[in-house]
Symmetry: C4
Subunit: 209 residues, 4 copies
C-alpha cells in the first residue's frame, strides 16, 4: 500500500485518540487494496492507535490471513472489516470506540438499534440530501466469536443496505466510506449525532423509554 495511506491512517489514529475515540488499544482501520481477489490493508492487532507506526499495518486476504509472510498479527476484528467491504462496497472501514457510542449501544440494545432523525448533520452521511431522514443505527450483541460476529454483520448489512454504521453493544462503532476521507467524515458525523442524542436524553431523562 502507498505510504500516503499509512500516513493518513497514522494521522487519523492520533486525532481519534486525542478525541477519545480509540483509547487503550481499541479501534482498527482498514483500506481495500484490491478486490480480485480481495486484499485489505489493516492495522495490526493490539496497537496503540494514538501512536501508530508504519510497520503496524499489514495486508490480509479475503479470509483475514496475513498475505506477506511477516509475523505481524492482523486485528482480531479483521473478518468484520472484510464483511463490511464485501457487502457495502466500501473502500475504507473505521472502527472506533467512544464513550457516547458505547453508552447508547447499551441503552438501545434490546430494541436492536435506534433512529436518529431530523438533524441537519445527517446530510454529512453519504447519499443523504435532507435532514428529513430517519437513520437507523443497528446494534449487534457483542461476542468474542469474531466469525459469528462477522457473519451477523454480513446478514445485517444485507437486510439494511442503507445504514452508514453499525454499533456493537458496549463496544463501539463500525462505519465506512467510498474512500478514507468519507469514512473519517462518517466517524465525525456519527459521533456528533451520538453526543447530541445522548445529551438530549440527559436533559429529559423521564420522557425516554
Amino acid at each position: 500500500m502507498s505510504s500516503a495511506v499509512s500516513d493518513t491512517l497514522i494521522r487519523l489514529g492520533s486525532e481519534f485518540h486525542r478525541r477519545g475515540w480509540v483509547l487503550g488499544t481499541s479501534g482498527n482501520f482498514s483500506v481495500v487494496v484490491d478486490r480480485n481477489p480481495l486484499r485489505l490493508f489493516i492495522t495490526a492487532s493490539s496497537m496503540d492507535k494514538g501512536r501508530l507506526l508504519p510497520e503496524q499495518f499489514l495486508e490480509v486476504d479475503q479470509d483475514g490471513r496475513n498475505t506477506q509472510g511477516t509475523t505481524a498479527r492482523p486485528s482480531a476484528e479483521t473478518l468484520l472489516h472484510i464483511a463490511v467491504v464485501r457487502v457495502t462496497g466500501a473502500e475504507a472501514v473505521l472502527h472506533t470506540h467512544s464513550v457516547w457510542s458505547t453508552v447508547l449501544s447499551d441503552i438501545h440494545a434490546q430494541a436492536g438499534g435506534f433512529f436518529i432523525e431530523g438533524y441537519e448533520m445527517l446530510k454529512g452521511l453519504e447519499g443523504i440530501e435532507t435532514h428529513e431522514h430517519r437513520e437507523w443505527i443497528p446494534i449487534l450483541e457483542n461476542t468474542q466469536d469474531m466469525r459469528a460476529l462477522a457473519s451477523q454483520a454480513d446478514a445485517l448489512l444485507r437486510r439494511n443496505p442503507d445504514v452508514h454504521g453499525i454499533l456493537i453493544r458496549q463496544h463501539g462503532l463500525y462505519t465506512w466510506g467510498k474512500n478514507l476521507d468519507s469514512a473519517a467524515r462518517h466517524v465525525e458525523i456519527l459521533e456528533f449525532l451520538f453526543e447530541s442524542v445522548g445529551r438530549r436524553r440527559m436533559m429529559e431523562p423521564g420522557i425516554h423509554k
Copy 2:
C-alpha cells in the same frame, strides 16, 4: 478580498473545528465586501472548515451568484447570509453547528425560541451593558428550501431587531457582528450560554417543561 480576511477565516475555521462547532462540512462564514451593490466573501460549499484553503472562498452578489466566473459553488446557505447582512447591517456572519445549540434548538422548537436571562456573559453581546437582560433566542424550523429559510430569517429579524443570533432547529446557530472579531466573539459567548443553559437543565430536569 484581502488575504488578511481569508487568513482570519481559516484560523477561525480551524479553532471552531477543534471546539466541535463546525464538524463534518458543517458551518459557513461570510464577510461583506461591498454594499453598493452588495457583495459577500463566503466559504465555498461542502468544505471541511477545520482545514480551509485560500481557494475555498468566493465572492457572491446580492442574489448569491458567484461574481467571479470561477466554478466554485457558493455555500447552499448563502441566501441566509445575505438576509442577515441586509437586515442587521452586520459586516460578518458566522454559522456554526455545535451539540449544545443543536439540542436546545430542538427542545425549544415548539415555543419558537427561548430566553437567556441574568447571565453576566450576556454583556459580551454587542450593545448589552448589564446582566439584567432577557436575550431572546429565536428558532426557525429547518428546511432544505434555502429561499424559504432566508425569507423567514428576513422576516424574523425585522420583527426582532434586537436579537444577536438565530437557531435553526437541529441545525445550529447564525450570529453576526459589526466586524469579524465581533461575530467570532458572539459565537463564543452564545456557545458559553447554551452550554450553561443546557447543563443547568441536566441538573434539574424535572423543573423544566
Copy 3:
C-alpha cells in the same frame, strides 16, 4: 511591574481561555505591586484574556485609578480586586467565569452559597490539611454597581475570613492567593470541585433540593 509577571499572566490567560474559564472578554487578573500605599497591576478593561499583550495591563491605586497617566482603562471590576487584597492580604487575585461556576452560582443563590465537603482535592486550598473539611462557597448577587459589589465582598470576607473564593451569581469566581501560583492553583482546584459537585448532581438530580 516586572515583565515576568505580565508573562505569567499572559500564559495563564491563554491557558484559562483554552479551558473555557475566560471566554469572550470575561475574567480579569491582578497582582499587588505595593501596599503602602496600595498599588495593583491589573488587566485593562474588555481585553480577550486568551491573547493578552504586555500593553494590556496597567497600574491602579487604592481607589482603582490608573496611576500612570496612560489612557488604558482599568477593568470595571478593579474595586473588587482591591477589596479582596485588602481584606485577605492576598498578593494575587484571579477572576474566572466557567460554565460550572456560573451554573452552581445560580442554583445555590437563594441559600447564599453552598458547602463542598469531604473531597481530598480540598487540600489543594491554602491551609487545608485534610479532606475532613467543609468549604463554604459564598455567593453574592450580581450587580453592575461595582462600588456596591466591592463593598459587599469586603463585608462578606470580613465575616468569612476562611473562604478561598467567592462566586458572583451567574457571573463566576473570584479567588486569590499569597502569590500568583497559589491563586492559579486555587482556580484549578475550585474548578475541579465545581465540576465534581455539578456532575454529582446530574447523576442524582432527585436527591438534591
Copy 4:
C-alpha cells in the same frame, strides 16, 4: 533510575494533567527499582504533575524513606505505592484523581465498591480476554492516616487479588501494571469505563439506586 523512566513519567504527568487527571498537585507515580530489598522511584511530595522536572523524583526504601540523603520529601502516599507493589507484584503504580473517579467513589462508597460489566474495553485490563467479565472496583474510605490506608489497601488486595484498581473515596484512583506502559493503559481504560458508567447513570438517573 534511568533518565528514560523519568522522561516517561514527565510525559505522562503532562498528558494526564491536560486530560484533567492530576490537577492541582494531586496524583503521584512510582516505578520499582529493585525488590531485594525493595526500592521505589517516586514523585516528590506536592509537585505540579503537569510540569514535573527530573529533580522532582526520588528513591525510597521499603519503609518509604528517602534513600539518597537529599532533602526531597517523598509523596505522602508512598506507603500506599509500597503496599500495591508488594501485594500485586506490579512494577509501576499510578495514582490519578479525575472528576469521574471522584464522583463514582462517593456514590458507591457505602457499598464498598461497584461492578463494571460487559464492556469490550475491559479487555484493555491485563489478563482480561472477554467482555463477559465483571470487574470489581473496590472503594476505601479516605483518611489522612497513610499508614492505616496502606494497611487497608494491603488487606483489600490480598482479599481481591484480581482487581486492577482501587478507588479512595472522593480521592481518586490507584492502578498499576507489570510495567509503566501497562499501568498507563490501565489509567486510560479505567477512566474510559468510569466516564461510560457515569454518563450511563446521567441518562437514566431513576433506575439506579
